[in-house]
Amino acid sequence: MSGREKILNRAVKEIKDGMCVNLGIGMPTLIADRIPEEFDVMLQSENGLLGIGSYPKESEVDADLINAGKETVTAKRNASYFDSAESFSMIRGGHIDLAILGGMEVSETGDLANWMIPGKMVKGMGGAMDLVQGAKRIVVIMDHRNKYGESKVKKSCELPLTGEGVVHVLITDMAVFEFTEKGMELVELQEGVTLEELKEATAASFIVRESVK
């Protein structure tokens, strides 16, 4: 199983029946297909749709119906459309149960950086800064290391922050961490990863939950 597969398979377990969920652009979007069919889950798209359906058949394509990644989509049963102010009232007001977002860096205090790299062209934060402050639970998914093999799980973020102390759960291809009052806590190792390997690969300090030892 690829690292990405491991991440997605673990991430989907965060989604419970009945939840309203926002999946970030990119890798998080792929989680949609893995949600158990028997679940009643409403996916929110911050441009103004609660109840994202599958991609349309070619004959169903509608330029007036896109998701936050600007992809053509459909709406599922019981969906609703609304304007952008309403959409972020939902998000900021804590009415979205869960947001799953991609990350560039996560710090041991739960800071998240995922919107810009200094020196590179700035694209903008879109709705990410609103989501990390508003959704009830923030799950970040990302590769544990960058392409140079350096830890993306840091003592403190080097990239500009998206939010400070906002991450509840971090899921990487190596492990799953929760951020609690105790600090950053390892709660699961991905299959085939040892605690020693993880410590080697991680710049952040973390505590190890009893169940993992």
Binding site: S45, N47, A63, R92, M121, V122
Partner: protein
């Protein structure tokens, strides 16, 4: 006292160099195509534009960029546009990046007579720099300002002669919010209906916010990312 106009040129006469305009749309979805093209043709310069995105190189607000009509862009995401990148890096274009929800709320606040509000969005980030911080119930928030623009450019699906508006699917997006935030709000629609033809319970934007309504023909409605699944 119909608000219907049959040409955009006349009403755009009011838009002078240096004007600020709030523009509806998300990506290329629900953008006021005709108004943007008419403003490109008019060539008004030194504009400040409030809009979630800035179009692509050859469509939407990208047309005004190409034509160097925009002095300052206030947006949440501008990633799909090489012209933008060039003008930004050369310093020609001033850019204020605003979180999407904060941008929506600032426009809504401006339209609702709220000069400022507090939000947790952006606390601890670059967005918070220079802004007033305040604690409420032990949590820190920053003060954000309402936006009122000289003009609002809106794209709706249907309108009646009073300017009551109905939007379609996710083409609604920033449009109703922007409609409230313009001192003069100009709306283009796909279909103009007769007086009384819209159900008062189903109107998304009451006509009180609208000064001018224009019926556009043959909307292009470009799609940025065509994604489909196989036909069954």
């Amino acid at each position: 006292m119909s608000k219907i106009i049959t040409s955009l040129d006349e009403v755009l006469e009011q838009v002078q160099d240096g004007a600020s305009i709030a523009v509806g749309g998300f990506g290329l979805c629900g953008i006021p195509e005709k108004l943007i093209i008419a403003l490109q043709e008019k060539g008004t310069k030194e504009l400040t534009v409030y809009s979630n995105n800035c179009g692509v190189d050859d469509w939407g607000l990208g047309l005004l960029l190409q034509n160097k009509q925009i002095k300052k862009m206030v947006a949440s995401y501008v990633g799909e546009n090489k012209t933008f990148e060039k003008q930004f890096l050369s310093g020609e274009l001033e850019v204020e990046l605003v979180p999407q929800g904060t941008l929506a709320e600032r426009l809504r606040a401006g339209g609702a007579g709220i000069p400022g509000f507090y939000t947790a969005t952006g606390v601890g980030t670059e967005v918070a720099k220079g802004k007033e911080h305040k604690e409420f119930d032990g949590k820190t928030y920053i003060l954000e300002r309402g936006i009122v623009a000289d003009f609002a450019f809106v794209k709706a699906w249907k309108a009646d002669p009073f300017g009551n508006l109905v939007f379609r699917k996710t083409a609604r997006n920033f449009n109703p919010t922007v409609a409230t935030a313009g001192k003069i709000t100009i709306v283009e629609v796909e279909e103009l209906v007769g007086a009384g033809e819209l159900d008062p319970d189903e109107i998304h934007t009451p006509g009180v916010y609208v000064q001018h309504v224009y019926e556009g023909k043959t909307y292009e409605k470009r799609i940025e990312r065509l994604t489909t699944r196989k036909e069954a």
